[in-house]
């Protein structure tokens, strides 16, 4: 396949793959009679052009950082967690139950408890496929896919039939008490209309924590050994069953950050389908970020900007829908994940020649 230098593997290849995805999308816009330059400009201005836009960008990026970390940490253990979507959804239930039932507590207690509730529910929902893989040998990819649908069915049932306030027609929970909310970031100069909130800080802390855990602890070392080779892990005496369940739980807890950002930070109630695909975007974010927390944060920022820019784009350039951002996401997964071997040999040749 050809080896490329480390810096190229970590920085150049992701950027090239992103450019490829963007170029392909631009071609598509051009082919359908649109103006790719106008579209790209609208994307950039719409995502970064104002404090308000940036506030939205960071808000979306927060969700993606959490799901990106969730997917990345499982990847480090050799597990492909496609279930971040369902785990985040279930985490929403944990957050909601804590917020609604412990509403009498002061914010300083209620918010951490609601976060813990979300993390616990997300972790539990992810630990089941982990347990099934570890103890029953079920393929984690298929079970997490199935668990997404199970989560959706369960949550629809709970929200529509049990959580909706009596007499209300809208399928959503009653509003959370005042205390159950994460403060916005007005102090940092974001307008109060921007939904970015303290969950952003949590996401950055989570990334730091994941880095320390995976690269600076014996447990993380063991996780990476397992990810590289189960045979080596069993030689090294690593209890892989336990490891799989634990890392899936951690992954699910991280995915639960979406519920914290969305429900405690912005919506203040449980809504049907509030996860709106962030779990799948997390796959793109993790792949693009090379499954490393720093890379995940950068990739989340990028995809957050694309999402926000895409929403603006739909207003600015009527022929180009916001779904084009979904297309870009898909292409990034395709190029970085599945077609990763396409550019590498050529790049290795070019860099090898340049290097000497």
């Amino acid at each position: 396949m050809g080896d490329v230098p480390r810096w190229a593997e970590l920085a150049l290849l992701p950027v090239l793959n992103l450019l490829l995805a963007l170029a392909l999308t631009a071609l598509l816009v051009l082919a359908t009679g649109g103006d790719p330059v106008a579209a790209l400009t609208a994307l950039a201005v719409g995502s970064l052009g104002s404090a308000d836009a940036l506030g939205y960008t960071l808000y979306y990026a927060t969700n993606m950082a959490f799901t990106g970390l969730a997917v990345a940490v499982a990847f480090q253990g050799g597990l492909f967690n496609i279930g971040a979507e369902g785990q985040a959804y279930l985490a929403g239930l944990g957050v909601t139950l804590a917020a609604l039932h412990l509403g009498f507590l002061p914010a300083a207690l209620l918010v951490p408890l609601a976060i813990a509730g979300g993390a616990a529910f997300g972790a539990a929902w992810a630990a089941i496929p982990g347990w099934l893989q570890a103890r029953r040998g079920s393929h984690i990819v298929i079970t997490t896919i199935m668990f997404n649908f199970l989560a959706a069915a369960l949550m629809v049932h709970l929200i529509v039939n049990l959580l909706t306030a009596p007499g209300s027609m809208a399928p959503e929970s009653p509003p959370f008490p005042e205390a159950a909310s994460l403060p916005g970031l007005a102090q940092l100069g974001f307008p109060s209309s921007a939904p970015v909130n303290l969950a952003l800080g949590l996401a950055v802390l989570a990334a730091l924590g994941v880095w320390l855990l995976v690269w600076r602890t014996p447990w993380g070392y063991a996780l990476r050994v397992m990810g590289q080779s189960p045979a080596v892990a069993s030689y090294a005496g690593i209890d892989q069953g336990r490891m799989i369940i634990l890392v899936m739980a951690l992954s699910g807890a991280l995915a639960g950050g979406v519920a914290v950002n969305e429900l405690l930070g912005a919506q203040h109630k449980l809504l049907l389908g509030f996860t709106s695909g962030y779990g799948f975007t997390g796959i793109a974010v993790a792949l693009m970020g090379r499954n490393h927390p720093a890379g995940v944060l950068l990739a989340a920022l990028l995809f957050g900007a694309l999402t926000q820019g895409g929403a603006e784009l739909a207003f600015e350039v009527p022929d180009v829908p916001s779904e084009i951002v979904v297309l870009i996401q898909g292409l990034v997964i395709l190029f970085t994940g599945a077609l990763g071997n396409m550019l590498r040999p050529a790049l290795a040749r070019v860099l090898g020649r340049a290097g000497g």
Binding site: Y221, V225, Q228, S234, Y235, A236
Partner: protein
């Protein structure tokens, strides 16, 4: 036989075959002539380039340079299809059989005789019966491969080759997985093939087989063809010398063992493999400090599973294991990590698959299994600098080259990888050291260094269990030798009384005659 040379063109002639895999020069200017209607042996150590050469002949790889002549005519073999058309068939070391298919389906694959299976199947069935009759290769055509014993699977491979019209049959280490009886059956089949004018190329690293069945033999070493001999005009000693490239040194005189207390003991130990097949059947052994106990045997007779069980990687199905006088199995804390804490070192049989982290740095490989050791932690966290310093010291002390802890483990040569693993395990000062195939794929210089290390462990009073399929290695190092056959210990020999013949009988499952 008996035909004058030069009358008929050779079945196969290779001229100047070259093949490189990256930095590895697998075949260098290889010439080979194989006469029709003979059994021709190719012998060489693991990694000498035999299998690569045969893969080129069978179209699995393409040569970088050189030419191939079949029946005197130059041919291009671009893929297996070309080879098959030329009547060149190969029985691989790892069988190319679809386990869930029947014998018939496997034989038909690629030679179905038409777009619909029904018509070809009747023909194939008849042909299989005929071939089975002619060569003594009887197999039930409707049996599923996964339900057949290994020997029968190999017969299917040969049938497959014959069904497709093999004129030249290549067999790659065919007896590695066979019992001696099955090997005898195989040799009978090969002789029948020769009698019918077909040509057989036998690749092996076992001198005994070469002497027993071949007409001519070619020797490979380090990618080159170094000699060709008529089998009748050569000897085991000469071939061994040619294969290794120097006279087989008599085992260096060693100080007499000073056996200490029993440090590792297994009683009536039975072990099943992943498929549930019992591979180790009631083994007893006791290993003392200050001695090297060798376990000899044909590969696949349970040595691997025994080693894994003693290392805690595989739970025995019955029996007891005592380490340093304490029962560790049956016991709750029976796993490799716990045994390591009780000072058990383990150099695994298959270092590439399980002993090192191919894609991680040498530094990370250097703490594999000991990642929980607090000495490479600062403030509770793993400190890369401390890990790298530890690795650098190991690499210096054990002469691992290049001594670069940041280099990816996969990029070291086999010998240096093995030295790194030995360094990691010995540096922990184990009381018991389990060692599997320590010099597989290691160059000559590396072999010496590794042997010296193991002898040093013995001198330091450690108990060393050495599992190896290389008899020379066992005889050079072990104080006592246990021979395993079909999951059982067939017998024990002291180093002084061990010779190839006695070991060979035991390895073949022939129990020693007990003099009253």
């Amino acid at each position: 036989m008996g035909k004058a040379e030069g009358m008929a063109p050779p079945a196969i002639a290779l001229r100047g075959i070259e093949k490189r895999f990256g930095a590895v020069h697998a075949n260098r200017a290889v010439d080979l002539t194989v006469r029709r209607g003979t059994i021709h042996g190719i012998i060489g150590e693991n990694g000498a380039g035999k299998s690569t050469l045969m893969a080129i002949l069978h179209g699995f790889y393409q040569a970088d340079a050189g030419s191939i002549l079949v029946n005197g005519r130059e041919v291009a073999i671009r893929d297996s299809r070309d080879a098959i058309r030329l009547g060149i068939e190969m029985v691989h070391q790892h069988f190319m059989l679809v386990e869930r298919f029947t014998v018939l389906e496997n034989v038909m694959l690629g030679a179905e005789g038409g777009p619909l299976l029904a018509r070809g199947a009747a023909k194939a069935r008849a042909e299989l019966a005929r071939l089975g009759e002619a060569f003594g290769l009887r197999v039930d055509p409707d049996a599923r491969i996964e339900n057949l014993p290994v020997g029968a699977q190999q017969r299917v491979e040969i049938l497959k080759a014959l069904y497709r019209g093999a004129e030249l049959l290549i067999l790659d280490e065919p007896t590695g997985v066979l019992t001696p009886q099955e090997a005898d059956d195989l040799f009978r089949v090969l002789r029948a093939l020769r009698a019918q004018g077909r040509t057989v190329l036998l690749i092996t690293h076992k001198l005994r087989e070469i002497m027993a069945i071949t007409d001519r033999v070619s020797v490979m070493r380090a990618g080159r063809m170094v000699a060709h001999r008529e089998t009748a005009a050569t000897s085991v000693a000469e071939l061994g010398e040619l294969m290794i490239g120097r006279r087989l040194a008599a085992p260096a005189p060693r100080p007499a063992p000073k056996p200490g207390p029993v440090l590792l003991e297994a009683r009536n130990l039975s072990v099943r493999d992943a498929a549930g097949v019992e591979r180790v059947k009631g083994v007893d052994l006791a290993l003392r400090g200050g001695e090297i106990l060798g376990i000899a045997g044909v590969a696949g007779n349970g040595q691997g599973e025994l080693l894994e069980a003693l290392a805690g990687m595989r739970r025995p199905s019955a029996g007891e294991i005592r380490l340093g006088g304490q029962t560790v199995f049956p016991g709750r804390d029976f796993n490799p990590a716990a045994l390591r804490r009780q000072r058990l070192g383990h150099v695994p049989e298959d270092r590439l698959r399980s002993g090192l982290l191919r894609n991680a740095s040498a530094a990370e490989t250097a703490i594999l299994g000991y990642q929980d050791d607090p000495s490479w932690r600062r403030f509770g966290l793993l400190a890369p600098a401390a890990v790298a310093a530890h690795a650098a010291r190991l690499m210096r002390d054990y002469d691992v080259r290049p001594a670069d802890p940041a280099l990816r483990s996969a990029l070291f040569s086999g010998g240096n990888q093995q030295k790194l693993i030995l360094a990691r395990e010995i540096d922990r000062d184990p009381q018991v050291l389990l060692v599997g195939q320590p010099t597989r794929g290691v160059d000559i210089g590396g072999i010496d260094a590794i042997h010296q290390r193991l002898l040093a462990c013995r001198a330091a009073g450690k108990a060393v269990l050495l599992v190896s399929v290389e008899l020379d290695e066992i005889m050079a190092l072990a104080d006592r030798i246990l021979v395993m056959f079909d999951g059982r210990i067939m017998g024990e020999l002291a180093a002084a009384e061990a010779d190839e013949q006695r070991l060979g009988l035991l390895m073949a499952g022939v129990a020693p005659e007990r003099a009253a």
